[in-house]
């Protein structure tokens, strides 16, 4: 599959279209129901066929990275919850793992296992939301897509209920801190997790029946939005988008964080390089993550959940000397990296610079390649299959 496909030229090339034809420029978004927030894609259309597509992110830019420089390490966790608002748990983990590495703080084994458990639960919740919105994109908000979205949200609610039981919040949890976790597993929670995920696991077959077994769904996804493997690597795609292009790369296995060195992960890869390939990868990950959750929840080791005192004074965590670290962890969308420069005499408790590497931003850069030659209908299908979260793209 990889390497042999001819590359689309993302730039408007006068040789490629009839220069006498009238091109229509169409702004898709930022106020458009299917752009997953506020993405603007400028389309140059010949009839309904896309000649050129230029994505313009930035409508949700909040200057978070600057804000992080003004806060201490302890205060930052609830802020990064709002980056990728579909998987806040993993955002917290990413930034805290980076801070721990920067400050040289050890994380107890129980906390690492709990983080793994929460990450996999969040991955299921995030992929469920993705499946719902993806089918919504290709199936219509007034139609079959909406039905499947209601089903996936029904399952996602179960996971949010579990998070609420654990942390008290349904969405922005603030449950991770430098050195471990803030909330220990309550009595009976493990049983609830088992029940919920057994149910969710049994329902994945229904989704397959409604999508994978549906001829129209296949017509809309197979060979649509092709991103060859070499292009995907060049653009820095990660996560399911990369694995859907046939590249076997998963940080959970290749650069284990949390407790993934003790917990083997079966990585799903699909050689389709198209929307369907990415769909199949995420569906396989749904299954795999459900299996992981059911495995982990029975085996969380005993012990402390935090190596530091669980207090909330702003200057709680201090870094003695100026250093920089980069840590990437596998979020549901790919490599969520955090690059921190911090420490030193004058800025001991706050980072000097904190750069987030969002996987979705890099996925956006594939749009000019993947959209050319398709029709407007496929814009939303391709965009949905890349699973962008604008809060994370723009920060």
């Amino acid at each position: 599959m990889s390497g042999t496909t001819t590359r689309v030229n993302p730039h408007l090339d006068i040789e490629r279209y009839d220069s006498d034809a009238d091109l229509m420029a169409l702004n898709m978004g930022p106020q458009h129901p299917s752009t997953h927030g506020v993405l603007r894609i400028k389309l140059f259309l010949d009839g309904e066929v896309i000649i050129k597509a230029v994505p313009y992110p930035g409508y949700l830019h909040r200057g978070v990275e600057k804000l992080l420089e003004k806060l201490t390490y302890v205060q930052i966790t609830p802020i990064v919850d709002k980056h990728d608002y579909v998987s806040p748990m993993i955002n917290e983990q990413a930034i805290n793992v980076a801070f721990e590495k920067l400050a040289g703080v050890e994380v107890p084994r129980r906390a690492r296992w709990m983080r793994t458990l929460l990450a996999e639960m969040q991955r299921v919740a995030s992929h469920l939301l993705w499946l719902g919105t993806f089918v919504l994109d290709i199936g219509g908000t007034i139609g079959g897509g909406a039905s499947l979205m209601m089903f996936t949200f029904r399952e996602r609610e179960l996971i949010l209920d579990l998070f609420e039981e654990l942390t008290g919040a349904r969405f922005h949890y603030n449950t991770h801190m430098v050195g471990g976790n803030r909330h220990d597993i309550p009595v009976g929670w493990a049983q609830h997790v088992r029940e919920a995920f057994t149910l969710i696991r049994s329902r994945i077959a229904d989704y397959h029946q409604q999508c994978t077994a549906n001829a129209i769904f296949l017509d809309r996804t197979v060979n649509v939005g092709v991103i060859p493997a070499d292009l995907a690597l060049e653009l820095g795609l990660t996560g399911p988008n990369l694995r859907g292009s046939g590249v076997d790369h998963d940080l959970r296995r290749d650069a284990p964080f949390h407790a993934y060195d003790e917990i083997p992960v079966n990585v799903a890869v699909h050689g389709g390089c198209d929307s369907f390939g990415r769909y199949m990868v995420r569906m396989a990950e749904l299954e795999e993550s459900c299996r992981l959750v059911l495995d982990i929840v029975d085996n969380v080791p005993e012990g402390p959940i935090c190596s530091l005192k669980p207090v909330k004074t702003p200057g709680h965590v201090k870094v003695a000397e100026r250093r920089q670290v980069y840590v990437g962890i596998e979020s549901p969308r790919g490599e969520l990296g955090t690059w921190v420069i911090g420490g030193g005499a004058e800025r001991g408790a706050a980072p000097y610079r904190c750069k987030i590497r969002p996987p979705c931003l890099h996925a956006m850069s594939a749009l000019p390649y993947a959209l050319v030659g398709h029709t407007i209908s496929d814009v939303v299908a391709v965009l949905g299959s890349l699973d962008p979260i604008m809060g994370e793209v723009d920060r």
Binding site: L26, G140, I142, G143
Partner: protein, 340 residues
């Protein structure tokens, strides 16, 4: 009865029926969708939320009418009303009732006008439906609406062909273009969906699919395509003009169900039962058939995703048109061969 008086009385009756059912259809669809999606649906206004359509209509009447500055005003203002009008008049030639006369022949009743060319009338009127949608798409001065209008024209004209061809199958089999004749033939010789071996069923399915495409229902709702074209031709419309187009779409699916049940499912006739039961059961049987077809439209709509415009054309021109042509010829051969 004086034909003018007859037309006025039955026309008013049909209008009232269609408007009531059109309003109820939106409630019915929302309730049905709620069942599909594990929700409650409308449940506040009236028993089981049945007055919700009235509340919605009042809300829409009170909304601000926004007319884009650069809109083509006459076309823009006129466009929403035409499809409703066309849909309402197209059902005029369909008989809703009927009974076995003393001589054993089926006598169709409850129709506004017994046209000799009833099928042609239906097809002609539904062929006009493209124009108001294109008017709406063009006049709003919106690129999304324009694209949707172009899609609608392409789709409407393409699906017109299998629709006409499959409608010809009962016409050829019966030898008449009058819908009451077609219904009477089915009452006496069996429903056409079974009567023509194989062809009847396929023709019925194709006719129904083409009607779905004409009335913009998923999987053929690409002109509306709210997740791509933000509502298609309706994107600039507000208030009651928006509501009236939605109403006309409900009416269109309703008319499609009525016509399909008259042409292929024997109209108000029900085997065995009609001979035993009095005349007033025929409209009930008709409504049952229409309701079943109507139900299936929404069942499909709320479980499937939609086709892309080019795939829709492919389906029409590669599959439906050739097969429909073959079916028309096969029916003609059967009729000339005397096998029917």
């Amino acid at each position: 009865m004086n034909p003018w008086l007859h037309g006025a009385v039955y026309g008013a009756g049909l209008l009232g029926f269609m408007m009531t059912v059109g309003a109820l259809a939106s409630w019915y669809e929302r309730k049905f969708t709620a069942v599909v999606q594990n929700r409650l649906g409308p449940n506040v206004v009236g028993p089981f939320g049945v007055y919700q359509p009235i509340a919605d209509a009042i809300k829409m009447l009170r909304k601000e009418e926004i007319i884009p500055r650069d809109a083509d005003r006459p076309l823009y203002l006129l466009a929403p009303w035409i499809p409703t009008f066309l849909v309402l008049i197209s059902a005029a030639a369909v008989p809703f009732g009927g009974y076995y006369a003393a001589d054993g022949h089926w006598q169709s009743t409850w129709l506004v006008a017994d046209l000799d060319l009833g099928v042609l009338w239906l097809l002609a009127v539904s062929g006009l439906m493209v124009f108001p949608i294109w008017m709406a798409g063009w006049s709003g001065n919106n690129k999304y609406a324009l694209l949707a209008g172009m899609r609608m024209v392409a789709q409407g004209i393409s699906y017109e062909i299998p629709m006409v061809l499959t409608a010809l199958v009962p016409v050829i089999a019966v030898g008449s273009m009058s819908i009451s004749d077609i219904v009477a033939y089915q009452a006496e010789h069996g429903w056409l969906i079974w009567k023509l071996p194989g062809i009847g069923l396929v023709a019925f399915v194709f006719f129904y699919l083409a009607s779905l495409a004409e009335s913009n229902r998923i999987p053929f709702d690409i002109p509306e395509a709210e997740s791509e074209l933000v509502g298609g031709v309706l994107v600039e419309y507000t208030g009651m003009r928006f509501g009236i187009v939605l109403l006309s779409e409900y009416l269109h699916t309703l008319v499609a169900s009525i016509v399909a049940s008259a042409l292929f499912l024997g109209g108000g006739h029900m085997p065995f039962l009609s001979a035993m039961l009095p005349w007033w059961t025929a409209p009930i049987f008709m409504l049952l058939k229409v309701g079943a077809l109507f139900f299936s439209i929404y069942w499909v709509r709320w479980s499937w995703v939609r086709y892309r415009a080019d795939q829709l054309m492919e389906l029409c021109w590669y599959w439906m048109v050739p097969i429909s042509l073959a079916m028309v010829m096969a029916t003609a051969l059967m009729v000339t061969g005397g096998w029917l």
